[in-house]
Symmetry: C2
Subunit: 318 residues, 2 copies
Amino acid sequence: MTISSVRVAADRLRAVGARPTPVLRSDWVDATAGCACYLKAEHLQRTGSFKQPRRGSRRRGRRARRERGVPCCVVVPRTTPGAKIDNMRRYGARVVLCEPTQSARSETAAAEAAAMGGAAFVHPYDDAAVLAGQGTIGLELAEELPQLDAVLVPVSGGGMVGGIAVALHALRPGVRVIAVEPKGKGLGRCLALSQRVLDPEAANGALDTIADAIRTKCLGPTPWAAASQLLDPAVLSVDDDQIRAAMRIALLELKQVVEPAGALTLAALLSPAFKQLREACAAHARAQHEHQLRHVAAIVCGGNIDLETLFLHVRTGP
Amino acid sequence: MTISSVRVAADRLRAVGARPTPVLRSDWVDATAGCACYLKAEHLQRTGSFKQPRRGSRRRGRRARRERGVPCCVVVPRTTPGAKIDNMRRYGARVVLCEPTQSARSETAAAEAAAMGGAAFVHPYDDAAVLAGQGTIGLELAEELPQLDAVLVPVSGGGMVGGIAVALHALRPGVRVIAVEPKGKGLGRCLALSQRVLDPEAANGALDTIADAIRTKCLGPTPWAAASQLLDPAVLSVDDDQIRAAMRIALLELKQVVEPAGALTLAALLSPAFKQLREACAAHARAQHEHQLRHVAAIVCGGNIDLETLFLHVRTGP
């Protein structure tokens, strides 16, 4: 997976109507995070999520499928919020629920593909074409924000963080790509030990987090191979209370509806861990004449949430 | 007030950190409105409202004042929501409440200006510099959307609609500037009769609408003189239920928090009256080989609202 496959994906995405997403700014967020923050609003992509139009292949994407009249089945864990399932159906997909494990997902998807007479299976992240499609976010960042020092990217199976890392490594090798995970994932330890899966038995389950979109425990083999060496060793972890507080800030300061996974990087920007990282980096930069974390982008990746759940989260936030 | 004063205002605004606002798109809104809709997100301006940074003069704007350490007093009706008053204070303004009438506002502002030792009084709309500042929205639309057939603009005292009309008349004279008002204002009749104030006694009061930011009954003399002849004779009126429904659509489909005034033009796009206007225009265009309403921008002007009020409005909507 290379920068040229990202460029090809960008052309294809333009052809199916995807647009570069806006970059949002907020004085309040800048002041609180202690640096200039650029919130890349992927939740404002046409479908309310980076997932569909960022697909890399011409034949891919649930929404694109509907527009071409191609039958499409989406397999999702039974814990998926109703608002997302409704959206998938609205775009013409047949939705099949499965148990919230990696193995149940693979088995159900294989069975459905066979029942459809050998339909192509598109993995949500373990696929070079998916990485290339999501790498187009990195392409846009490189074009829009030449001043960038780092980008915070939410991580689940690694498709987005992997694609962005490959794109930025090619175009702006000085930009640090920092993964943000739901607490308990332990990606930092995986990176330190250069080991994709630390506990094979636990890897099949789902993370305990309100961020329903990003409960995958380990990076997939394809993103790991493409990008694990390009990621910053620092990984930021946020818990549910930090996510809820960030969802509230998104509403009040950014005027944006984001789902829990979409608030992950904003939660990280506002966290004590980010402040420590920024200060450590500043001390090191002064000594080494290197870049500090002065201009930091954060990917806001999804806004598919029903209003009752949204209100509940922002009311119960700390 | 001319296009060159709008260009001067644009340069000054850039210098104090205002940015062009994003244009949001939604497949759902396009399909429901029956045309391509471009939602110009003025609520994403740094302060959450078009009002402050769009000021035309170098010496103006509450936020700009704080940054320069200039003492600033803002006179607002006592019916102003607490969230807005909090925001004004956060930007360093002293806030003085008055009765919700035009005369009380003028008298209170004059008294406060005198008490401050002769401070300059900045009227919210009856001021050529304010029109020029808000005309920069028209400048951006002309640059960003060459395909535009019309723009829907919320109207209160007329500063925004007047500034945009002057700018677009100079740069894209074919674009129709259509005012959207809270029901009961009666601007359409004023335009038809070329009379700014139809009932001088009633003009002093406030409109009965949940759109607290736009309760002024008549256009001010300055916007009326500058732009009343440039406005489309069709004026769209929306009621509180339509506004609440549009706030809900803004949350669900656009992922945006907007206050009632901010949802006004979206409510108009989704209204039966807009459909009638579009169809009448299409029939006429076919006969006369003129433009139809195919590409329509709508100004989303404010997102200053507290969450409890927001939730209340979108829950009680139809």
